[in-house]
């Protein structure tokens, strides 16, 4: 009963983050000041948004490695649009970035749904294609902050109730996803598709279509993050967010989302992203070179996936010994 009230994985992960904060605080107390924690949250906001999109895709037994390239392409498109038409309202820019991102997600989704190509192949391919297209449209040039309009770069930094808009967007999307995953039929069908695709078909769920919409959702969030990213850092070039897709997958895996699909939660994805965000922000504070970041997130993935596999083993009844258990 108690284990049902307190989800085990999220509790452990939350405790790990608190422990990490406490450890950093012993070296540098200012790190856990509210203003700094707000900074950490704001810094992690793009990762949180993308991790939520990735979570939905992974839950349906797929994977989306094209999110970072999608983010960079949408970001570049928005920056160039802003240079060409500086008077465009921000609301329109945001709507367009979501649309462009969703369209790219739809390409992934269609290839997975209609042609049944394995998602990893599709998104590895579209990842390089999207990156290449950025080079084609920008001709390899940068869009710098002085070329962007003040309203364009200002939106993610506008402060409301003590937090920048970037953080608020992440919080809003987390709430929306929390409702969607637990209270909507789409959210439930995502779990059903990932948990047991065959059974999902018999309950009247179109598996391919659900996966298609998962990709569209992930793409839309990547597009939105593309605008926020470019506006926040006030620069757009071909390689922005290079390799970020791995960090996103890492956040999901650390957050306890099973790569085999069907298991995971919104809270897990957010905590996984926050864990990486805290590590990233804490490294310079405790005088560790930022070059450690990559190795740390790699180890975190391996430890998390090994840990999750061990804790998930108790469930279910083994009738036949499967090949995986044999030596």
């Amino acid at each position: 009963m108690l284990s049902k009230l307190i989800p085990m994985r999220e509790t452990i992960l939350g405790a790990a983050i608190l422990l990490l904060l406490a450890l950093v605080a012993t070296r540098f107390a200012g790190f856990i000041a509210p203003a700094n924690l707000a900074n950490v949250l704001n810094d992690t906001a793009p990762l949180i948004i993308l991790a939520l999109g990735q979570m939905v895709v992974i839950l349906t037994r797929c994977i989306d490695l094209s999110v970072a390239a999608n983010l960079a392409l949408t970001g570049m498109a928005m920056a160039m649009l802003n240079v060409a038409m500086p008077d465009l309202p921000i609301a329109l820019i945001i709507a367009l970035s979501i649309l462009i991102g969703a369209a790219m997600g739809a390409i992934n989704g269609l290839l997975v749904w209609k042609l049944e190509i394995p998602p990893i192949v599709v998104t590895l391919g579209t990842m390089t294609i999207f990156r290449g297209i950025i080079f084609l449209i920008s001709e390899g040039k940068w869009v710098n902050s002085h070329e962007m309009s003040a309203a364009f770069t200002g939106f993610p930094r506008d402060v409301m109730l003590g937090l920048p808009m970037l953080s608020w967007v992440a919080i809003l999307i987390t709430i929306l996803f929390g409702i969607m995953m637990s209270r909507s039929s789409f959210g439930r069908s995502i779990f059903a598709v990932g948990g047991n695709p065959h059974a999902a078909v018999y309950t009247g769920i179109n598996v391919g279509k659900t996966q298609f919409f998962a990709f569209v959702l992930s793409g839309a969030l990547a597009g939105l993050t593309g605008y926020l990213w470019v506006a926040r850092y006030a620069v757009a070039y071909v390689d922005i967010a290079g390799g970020f897709e791995l960090e996103v997958v890492a956040a999901c895996v650390i957050g306890g989302i099973s790569i085999a699909g069907g298991i995971g939660s919104v809270g897990g994805a957010v905590l996984g992203a926050l864990f990486l965000g805290v590590v990233k922000n804490a490294l310079p504070v405790v005088n560790i070179s930022p070059f450690w970041q990559l190795a740390i997130s790699g180890s975190a993935i391996l430890i998390a996936v090994a840990f999750n596999a061990q804790s998930g083993k108790a469930k279910g009844r083994i009738i036949l010994k499967t090949s995986k258990d044999a030596t």
């Binding site: 037994r61 749904w113 192949v121 390089t128 080079f135 695709p197 070059f291 990559l294 993935i301 090949s323």
Partner: protein, 335 residues
């Protein structure tokens, strides 16, 4: 991925003859593509049809193809290793580190191969002993291995490799034939025999088609997979030696993104990404196709990042086209 409909198996009255099947095979199609690309390239650029420039072009694929052979076996057995490029980075960093402490060429080769093997063993332990999905494990170790290179090197670089070490990446065996292409050919033959002519090769196919069935027919599934990860690590070590020798320096970003091109090469070679089928000669032809395409585009002054669009399209196209074709045929055949 989506197994929504139950396949009704079509069993023909009799099989087509061997030569007919060979003619209709993926490898034949690929060979045709290779010849077409070759002919187009010779017309598109006057610099293409020259023994020395073609010899240079082989560097586009030899190192990747060495890994691709081992990767092909791994993918046929239903697993994947995305950490290969990071293994190159780590092995190259280890070699560079050894050079700073006065290691000679034989030691460097030992170190490169050992680091490759150890990395392969690392992945293998997670996948076969702990029973974790290889895609997550190797995404994790991909960050870890390259991360260690970054910790050791930061934004620096290792240089000062001994002069005779350059032989592997820059030397020639005879006339225009490079050392690398010789190693490539040797490895291709070894893997051809291993996959197509030995019990081990049959076991690899069996595991890819049905791991449980393979286990019940007496195949030590986990041991075979362990060996496959070791081989992939070892081949990454060989590629690391060649690449480091060719470049003459080591940076932590060495071979960044190469895992994608290796997987593309394997899939282009007709290996089923879901496991169970594929051939080494297919991968050999795919290596030549990719090498010719990138070299031809390079001669036409197409930047590298635009070439990656072609690689991406090639990867999706070669898988999508047969499926679109099958859907088209199925639609035409239904009354």
């Amino acid at each position: 991925m989506t197994q929504t409909n139950i396949n009704t198996r079509h069993i023909p009255d009799r099989l087509h003859s061997r030569s007919y099947r060979a003619l209709r095979s993926w490898e034949t199609l690929l060979l045709t593509v290779a010849i077409v690309v070759f002919v187009i390239n010779s017309f598109a650029s006057p610099y293409f049809l020259n023994a020395w420039s073609l010899s240079d072009a082989t560097f586009n694929f030899t190192e990747k193809a060495m890994i691709a052979f081992a990767m092909a076996l791994l993918i046929i057995a239903g697993e994947i290793d995305l950490s290969v490029a990071s293994i190159i980075a780590l092995a190259s960093t280890a070699m560079g580190f050894a050079v700073q402490h006065g290691a000679g060429t034989p030691e460097l080769i030992m170190i490169g191969l050992t680091v490759g093997l150890l990395c392969g063993a690392f992945n293998a332990v997670f996948v076969t002993i702990l029973g974790l999905p290889s895609i997550v494990v190797t995404i994790g170790s991909m960050s870890l291995f390259r991360g260690i290179s970054f910790i050791i090197l930061g934004d620096g670089a290792f240089r000062g490799y001994p002069a005779d070490f350059a032989w592997f990446g820059q030397g020639y065996i005879y006339w225009v034939f490079t050392v690398e292409i010789a190693i490539f050919a040797l490895i291709a033959v070894i893997y051809f025999v291993l996959l197509h002519k030995t019990n081990f090769g049959r076991a690899v196919y069996a595991i890819g088609n049905n791991p449980t069935g393979a286990l019940f027919s007496g195949i030590r599934v986990q041991r075979v997979k362990f060996i496959l990860f070791l081989l992939t690590g070892l081949m990454s070590g060989v590629a690391a030696i060649c690449l480091t020798s060719r470049l003459g320096s080591t940076r932590p970003s060495i071979a960044l993104g190469m895992e994608l091109e290796v997987v593309t090469m394997v899939v282009l070679g007709g290996v089923n990404i879901l496991g169970g089928s594929g051939s080494i000669h297919g991968v050999v032809i795919a290596a030549f196709v990719m090498g010719l395409v990138t070299f031809g585009l390079g001669l036409l002054n197409v930047p590298g990042i635009v070439m990656s669009i072609f690689i991406g399209l090639l990867l999706i196209g070669v898988i999508a086209l047969p499926r679109v074709w099958a859907m088209f045929v199925a639609k035409r055949n239904t009354p």
